[in-house]
Each structure stands twice: as structure tokens, then as C-alpha cells.
């Protein structure tokens, strides 16, 4: 097996590409995207995947071709006594530089949409991470947060209206956490002492996971919330029900879901 090592190196691009081709067919791919802006992120990922995929196949291919061709046991020709090539160096500096600059500029808009262009609308809810639960506070009928009629939920069951822009304040009561909505391609660390905004527009309904994506202690793994996206009318009805609920019992300040 003279060519064994070249063939072993060939397995890298072969299986490398194959893995990414078959994974979606086994549902090992992006979770369902229910947001407006998520498409842009997925497309950017796919764009980079194609681009890097081509470079990957080309460079790995060259490596195994050279390993095949220039094996000292099979190649009678003497080694080329070359110290390099100025032209090549210039080419393979400029080409990647231009490509990288392009990717850098191309993505800026998506980043600005996700993190910089906060919509000018009232806050839908305030979400607080605490070891190990996501609490939510809705403004209540007066539309103001931190007033007497706020609706506070500490059971990790959080509802959002879908089909419209939603603005959240997210913060932490103790250590770092990260508010991660895989199905909306949204993630933001929450930092004690800081108030941050998050916004999105869901274009579908359903119940999805809220994941904590920043290590927050031994119970990090169980800091799971559930996000329900529903049409405005259902959302309002749900809020009303919770207001009625709250009137009959006072919300304990530090209730956690499962222990």
C-alpha cells in the first residue's frame, strides 16, 4: 500500500464534506427558524459554509495530491530546489484578504439589525435570569414596568406575541446567564448590574425551548424555560388570565420551579 498515507489524508475532505451533506437529512441541522431575521443568519452561515467548503476541498485536495505525487518511494524526479515565489505570495495574500474584507463588510448589516437598531416600541416584558430559572415581568394594564399591576411569573413559562416586533429587557439577579432562543437565532448574556435589550419578531406560533447558554453554577443544565409564541389575541387572553390568577395569590419573591 504505497499510497496509503495520501489516501488517509484524502478521507478528510471526503468525510468532511459528506458529513455536512448528510447531516440535514438526519435532522441534525439548524432547529426550525420561526423568526423574521433568523433567515439572514442562516444564509450567512450557508454562504460561509460554501466559501470555506471550497477552500477546504482545494487545500486538503492539494495536500493529498502532493502526498500522492511526491512520495520519495515512487517519484523518481529530484526535489525542486525552490525557496518560494514572490508572485504566489502576493496572490495568496491579496485574494484571501479581499475575500475576508468582503465577508466582514457583508455581515455588518445583519449584526446591526440584531444588536444595534433597537426598535422604538414599548417594552413587552422584562426577563431576569437567576440560579436556575428565568423569571418574567409583564408591564400589566398600565403599560409601565415596576408598577403595582405588573404580572410576574417565576415558573419559566413565558409567552410572547407573534407576528409583531417584541422588545425585551433582560437582566440577571445573581451571576452570568445567557438568554438563548435557538429557534429565533437569538442569544444575549445577562450580566448582573446591567440592563440590556433584546428584540425580535416571531413569524410562527408554538412552544420552544429557552436555553441558558452561559455557565451559571451546578444547576446550569436545568435552567430551562419554555417560550410560547401566540397570536396577539391569545397572548392578551393569557395575560388576563394571569392577572386574575395573581389577584388570588401573592407571588413569592424567590420561587423556583423544580429543585
Amino acid at each position: 500500500m504505497k499510497r496509503f498515507w495520501a489516501l488517509l489524508f484524502l478521507m478528510v475532505p471526503v468525510f468532511g464534506v459528506l458529513t455536512f451533506v448528510v447531516a440535514p437529512y438526519f435532522n441534525h441541522w439548524f432547529p426550525k427558524d420561526i423568526s423574521e431575521h433568523g433567515r439572514v443568519i442562516d444564509q450567512l452561515f450557508m454562504f460561509i459554509l460554501w466559501l470555506t467548503g471550497i477552500i477546504f476541498v482545494a487545500t486538503e485536495g492539494a495536500l493529498c495530491y502532493f502526498a500522492w505525487k511526491y512520495d520519495s518511494r515512487t517519484n523518481p524526479e529530484p526535489a525542486k530546489f525552490s525557496h518560494g515565489s514572490h508572485t504566489l505570495e502576493v496572490v495568496w495574500t491579496i485574494l484571501p484578504a479581499v475575500t475576508l474584507l468582503f465577508i466582514a463588510i457583508y455581515q455588518m448589516n445583519a449584526w446591526a439589525d440584531a444588536k444595534m437598531r433597537r426598535p422604538n416600541i414599548p417594552v413587552t416584558a422584562e426577563i431576569t435570569g437567576r440560579q436556575f430559572n428565568w423569571d418574567v415581568r409583564y408591564p400589566g394594564p398600565d403599560g409601565k414596568l415596576h408598577s403595582r399591576d405588573d404580572i410576574v411569573r417565576v415558573d419559566g413559562d413565558i409567552h410572547f406575541p407573534s407576528g409583531e416586533e417584541v422588545l425585551l429587557i433582560i437582566k440577571s439577579a445573581d451571576v452570568l446567564h445567557s438568554f438563548f432562543l435557538p429557534n429565533l437565532r437569538m442569544k444575549q448574556d445577562v450580566v448582573p448590574g446591567m440592563e440590556q435589550y433584546m428584540w425580535f419578531k416571531a413569524r410562527d406560533t408554538g412552544r420552544y425551548d429557552i436555553v441558558c447558554a452561559e455557565l451559571c453554577g451546578w444547576g446550569h443544565y436545568k435552567m430551562k424555560g419554555r417560550a410560547t409564541f401566540e397570536p396577539r389575541s391569545e397572548f392578551d387572553a393569557w395575560l388576563k388570565e394571569k392577572i386574575a390568577d395573581q389577584k388570588t395569590r401573592t407571588v413569592p419573591a424567590n420561587e423556583t420551579e423544580e429543585e
Binding site: 441541522w29 439548524f30 470555506t52 525552490s82 455581515q107 444588536k115 445573581d174 455557565l215 430551562k224
Partner: protein, 591 residues
């Protein structure tokens, strides 16, 4: 150990203390070669421990809350043999801590830097031998502190990044921070030594642009350490003060945990992240540049052809190091840092992929038109190139800020840094051990067993780390003891079981290496001075080199990569060999 042979000084040099007692020769040695080998043995031992910790993590991800066979009863008897969630956080925290601070950083700079720098530049030892000895012995407080931290309240559990405020709620973190700062002090001593030695002690004729890439890489790494480490050390002391003295550098006003308020405050948790990554991003290059240097030397040697683009290779290392100081914010895109700042860091991060690409192209240029000898070190070096391509390309996904919103803190990141650090650096280190073993111990390692070790490690590592990209695309978060109670990730269990099985096999494969390594130290065939027919200076010294290294005064006539030069009949042309036109050479180099 047969590391020090009888002194054969052919020329006079400053005599070091030759007391010859066992303690001063092998334990408190000031000889750079012994210190290098001490680093090598210590780090290889920790490498093994780190590997076992990783298997603990993998076990939990494949068989969550299942009783671990045999070991579980021994280690976690109080939980009925299963891994408790706090044990799980300890396992991944200490796996990363051990691998980064006790294995990769000290094995590159400490073991190979120490052993190779004086030999490759033609010096008889380091500039400051005593400081050098201390740089090894300052690793011991780290070994002891990290080692002891396992036994305090279940061990540190704030991740290798030790983000406050979580880290400030944990007592074992004090030991962890002491360990971290000792590693910093040890590296600092080493880097001062390397810089001085490389600048001051090169043999006659060894100009900077005749240095082998290994030395260039060590030189630039030492600069990185000298500038970045003080920041980490300061930050480490600040966190230690927050933890033990009640200061509040990293705590906001009015912060409480477990319903207990802290009087102090007025600080910022993000400050730690800035300081930590200001060191730790350059540190990821500290963890790969020396490997790149060694890989360049190994590839040129077994391609029997000059290194393609020597100067671009040097400049791109310098470029990586320079840019490495202005990209730390890419670890903080979603941390709450100002998004405008994130955009700036994104542009700088994109551009750090450029010198990495240039290096890959030049390695490919080196094996183009070559006469490749597929020895074990060459296979490891070529696999470094192949794997670094993957790790470099996955970096671009995460540098793209909108994509990073989704893949940050998922297994995509885990795949990325294992491709650069395990499939890259660790494979390069294996290659370097096979390559320089003859110089260290005077004997050869077995090549066939070496190839088997290479092949199995190469296959299993790809089975372990490549599918992690896919996990990341699904959004599978890192550091979760039980990801499967999220519906989104439930179907990923079988893939994780496959990964775990391959990881166990990969660790098992290392037994081949361990046996080959120790057997060869004692029974390997004698190597002679230059078994690989290499050009660089260390191969002209005896194997193993005696005290003072060279038994002749090395004079350097050319660069390190004149393989296949038409000037001579041999396909190599040692740096010390005088050019043929200078009539009969005095042939100082006995080969």
C-alpha cells in the same frame, strides 16, 4: 535516564558548577536540556490526567446520570457511582485548566523551548540558567494548587475562564487562582530567558534570518507572553482579592448571591472578561505558534526541499502575534459588550485568518515538488496542516458576528478549538517528540508503532471532533450536564454516544505511544548525531548533547533549509558545513 553523557569539552567555556551530585544533576539542574526533559515528563503526566478528565465529561454526555462502570464506584460512591452535576462542572473546568495551563503552554515553551533554543542557535546554555531552573520549579506551586483544588468542596467549577460573579461564589477558586498565577510567573521567567538567549547568544554567523522557524516561533511567543502575562497576573490577583479580601473589582453595586449581600461593589463583571481575554487570546497563539515553528522544520526536513517562503512565514507569525492583541473581544460578542465594539473586533478577527492562510499555503508549497519521506514525525506534521485548515476555517464562522450569536457557547466552538489545539498543537507535539527524541535520549523510537499510533489517533480524533461541528449547528450548548431535557437537543444522544466511544478508543490508543516512548528510552536503537539528515544545528551536537552542548565551536554559513542544494552532493547541507569552494573543510561536525 541517559540524558547526560560524560562531558566532552573540546573547547573552553565558562565552567558551570560540576558538583555532579544526583540532586544537582537531575533534580535541581540548571542545564536547559534537563529542565526541558523535566517539563516534558511533568506535562506528559498531566496530559494523561487531563485526558481522563475529558473521558469523565464524555461519559456524562453519552450516558447521562448512568452509573460509571468500575470507576464510578471508586470515585463517586456517594452518588451511587454516577456523576453529580457539580462533579460534571468540575470535570470540564479542570480538563480545560489542566490541558491549557499544565500541558500545552508548558510543553511547548517549557519542554521544547528549553531543550531546543540553545541547541538550535548554537549556545551552550540559556542566558540565565538559574532563572530557568526556577521557571520549572514555579510550576510546582501550580501543580500542587490545581491538584489540591480537586479535593476542596468538589473542586473548581467556574470553567477555565473563571467568569465572576460565579467564580466568586466558590471557595476552591482561591487555589485555582494561585495555580494560575504561578503558571504565569513560571512562563514569565521562561520568556525573559528565551528573549535574552535568542538575542544575545547566537553562534557566529547565526543571523536572525538564518534562525529555524522553531526559534522564530519561540521568540515571538516569548514576546507575546512578556506583554500579555502581566495583565493576566494582575487580573488573577484582583479576582483573588475579590474572593478573599472582599474587594469588588468584578462585582456590581449591591450584588447578592444566595441571599447574602456583599458590602463591596462598584465593579464590573465584564472587566474580568476583557482582562482575561486580553491575555487568553494571545495565549491561544502561545499555544500554537511554537507548534507551527516545529511543524515547519519537520516538513522541510522530510520534504527534502527548502521551506517555501521563509520570510513570509516569519512575517506571518509576527502578523498573527501583532493582530492577536486586538481581537480579544471576539470572545465577547454576546457578552453585553457594546455591539459597535463587537464590530471592530470582528474586522480585526477576520484579518487574523489571513496570516494563518499564508502559512498553510507555504506549507503546501513546501511539499509541492518534494521527495516526501513518510516518517512518523512527517505524518504528524502533515496532519497538523490538514487539521489546522479545519480549525482556521471554522474560526471564520465565529468571527462573523451574526452567526456567532447562534453558535457562541455551542459545540461549534468546542470543535473549533479542539481542531486547533488537539488536532493541531497536540499532534504537532507528538510529531516533535518522535522527531527530537533521538536528540533528547540518544535513541530512536520505533517507526512502525509510531505510524500505528499516528493512524489510529488521526482517525479517532476526527471521529470525535468533526461531528461536534454538527452538534454546534443544532445549537447544542457546551458545559451542560444534561442537555437532553431540552427538546431541541434530545435527538442528539446517539451522535454523542458515538463521539464518546471514539474518545475512549482515542485515549486507549495512547498506550501505544506510552509503551513506545518508555521502551525506546532504554532499548531503542542508538541514534547517532543526525539520524534524519537534517540541517539545523542541534543535529551536529552529540546525541544526547553533553553539558555545554557542542563539542566544537559552531560557525553558521547558511539558512536552515538548504535541502537538496545543488552546491553539494548530499540532499542536505548542514548550517555548519563550510561551502565547498573553501578548500578542504576542517570538518568540525562529525556526521
Amino acid at each position: 535516564m541517559s540524558t547526560v553523557t560524560v562531558d566532552t569539552h573540546a573547547h573552553e567555556h565558562v565552567e558551570h558548577a560540576h558538583t555532579g551530585s544526583f540532586l544537582s544533576t537531575y533534580v535541581f539542574s540548571r542545564d536547559h536540556k534537563i529542565i526541558g526533559i523535566q517539563f516534558l515528563f511533568s506535562t506528559l503526566l498531566w496530559f494523561f490526567i487531563g485526558g481522563l478528565l475529558a473521558l469523565g465529561v464524555r461519559w456524562q454526555l453519552a450516558y447521562p446520570w448512568a452509573e460509571m462502570p468500575i470507576l464510578g464506584k471508586l470515585l463517586f460512591s456517594e452518588y451511587g457511582g454516577q456523576i453529580a452535576p457539580e462533579t460534571y462542572t468540575m470535570l470540564f473546568t479542570m480538563h480545560a485548566t489542566v490541558m491549557i495551563f499544565l500541558v500545552i503552554i508548558p510543553i511547548l515553551a517549557g519542554a521544547f523551548g528549553n531543550f531546543l533554543i540553545p541547541l538550535m542557535i548554537g549556545a551552550e546554555d540559556m542566558a540565565f540558567p538559574t532563572l530557568n531552573m526556577m521557571s520549572y520549579w514555579f510550576m510546582w506551586p501550580a501543580f500542587l494548587a490545581f491538584g489540591a483544588s480537586f479535593f476542596v468542596e468538589g473542586g473548581p467549577g467556574a470553567g477555565w475562564t473563571s467568569y465572576p460573579p460565579l467564580s466568586l461564589t466558590m471557595t476552591p477558586q482561591a487555589l485555582w487562582l494561585i495555580g494560575l498565577t504561578s503558571v504565569g510567573v513560571a512562563s514569565m521567567m521562561g520568556s525573559v530567558n528565551y528573549l535574552t538567549t535568542i538575542i544575545q547568544m547566537r553562534a557566529p554567523g547565526m543571523s536572525m534570518f538564518r534562525l529555524p522557524m522553531t526559534i522564530w516561533a519561540m521568540f515571538i511567543t516569548a514576546i507575546l507572553q512578556a506583554f500579555a502575562l502581566p495583565v493576566l497576573t494582575a487580573a488573577g490577583f484582583m479576582q483573588l482579592a475579590d474572593l478573599t479580601l472582599g474587594t469588588g473589582f468584578f462585582l456590581p453595586e449591591g450584588w447578592t448571591a444566595n441571599n447574602a449581600a456583599r458590602a463591596s461593589g462598584g465593579g464590573q463583571p465584564l472587566l474580568w472578561q476583557h482582562l482575561f481575554w486580553f491575555y487568553s487570546h494571545p495565549a491561544v497563539y502561545i499555544m500554537i505558534l511554537p507548534a507551527m515553528g516545529m511543524v515547519s522544520d519537520i516538513i522541510a526536513c522530510f520534504a527534502r526541499k527548502p521551506l517555501f517562503g521563509y520570510k513570509p512565514m516569519v512575517y506571518s507569525i509576527a502578523g498573527i502575534a501583532g493582530l492577536g492583541f486586538i481581537v480579544w473581544g471576539h470572545h465577547m460578542f454576546v457578552s453585553g459588550m457594546n455591539p459597535v465594539l463587537g464590530m471592530t473586533f470582528m474586522v480585526a478577527t477576520m484579518f487574523i485568518a489571513l496570516p494563518s492562510a499564508i502559512k498553510v499555503f507555504n506549507w503546501l508549497g513546501t511539499i509541492w515538488g518534494a521527495k516526501i519521506q513518510f516518517t512518523t514525525p512527517m505524518l504528524f506534521a502533515m496532519s497538523f496542516v490538514s487539521m489546522f485548515i479545519i480549525g482556521g476555517l471554522s474560526g471564520i464562522f465565529m468571527a462573523a458576528t451574526p452567526v456567532d450569536i447562534f453558535i457562541h457557547d455551542t459545540y461549534f466552538i468546542v470543535a473549533h478549538f479542539h481542531y486547533v489545539l488537539f488536532a493541531g498543537t497536540a499532534m504537532a507535539v507528538f510529531g516533535a517528540i518522535y522527531f527530537w527524541f533521538p536528540k533528547m535520549f540518544g535513541r530512536m523510537m520505533n517507526d512502525n508503532w509510531g505510524k500505528l499510533h499516528f493512524m489510529l489517533t488521526f482517525i479517532f480524533l476526527n471521529c470525535v471532533f468533526y461531528p461536534m461541528h454538527i452538534l454546534g449547528v443544532v445549537g447544542f450548548p457546551r458545559r451542560l450536564a444534561d442537555p437532553y431535557h431540552y427538546e431541541t437537543f434530545r435527538h442528539l444522544l446517539p451522535l454523542n454516544q458515538f463521539i464518546t466511544i471514539c474518545a475512549i478508543l482515542m485515549v486507549g490508543t495512547q498506550i501505544i505511544f506510552i509503551v513506545n516512548f518508555f521502551y525506546s528510552i532504554f532499548f531503542g536503537p542508538p541514534a547517532g548525531r543526525n539520524p534524519w539528515h537534517a540541517n539545523t544545528l542541534e543535529w551536529q551536537a552529540p546525541s544526547p548533547p553533553g553539558h555545554g552542548n557542542f563539542d566544537f565551536q559552531p560557525v553558521i554559513y547558511r539558512g536552515p533549509y538548504e535541502y537538496g542544494s545543488p552546491e553539494v552532493d548530499t540532499d542536505y547541507y548542514p548550517q555548519t558545513q563550510p561551502p565547498p569552494q573553501k578548500d578542504t573543510p576542517q570538518s568540525p561536525s562529525g556526521h
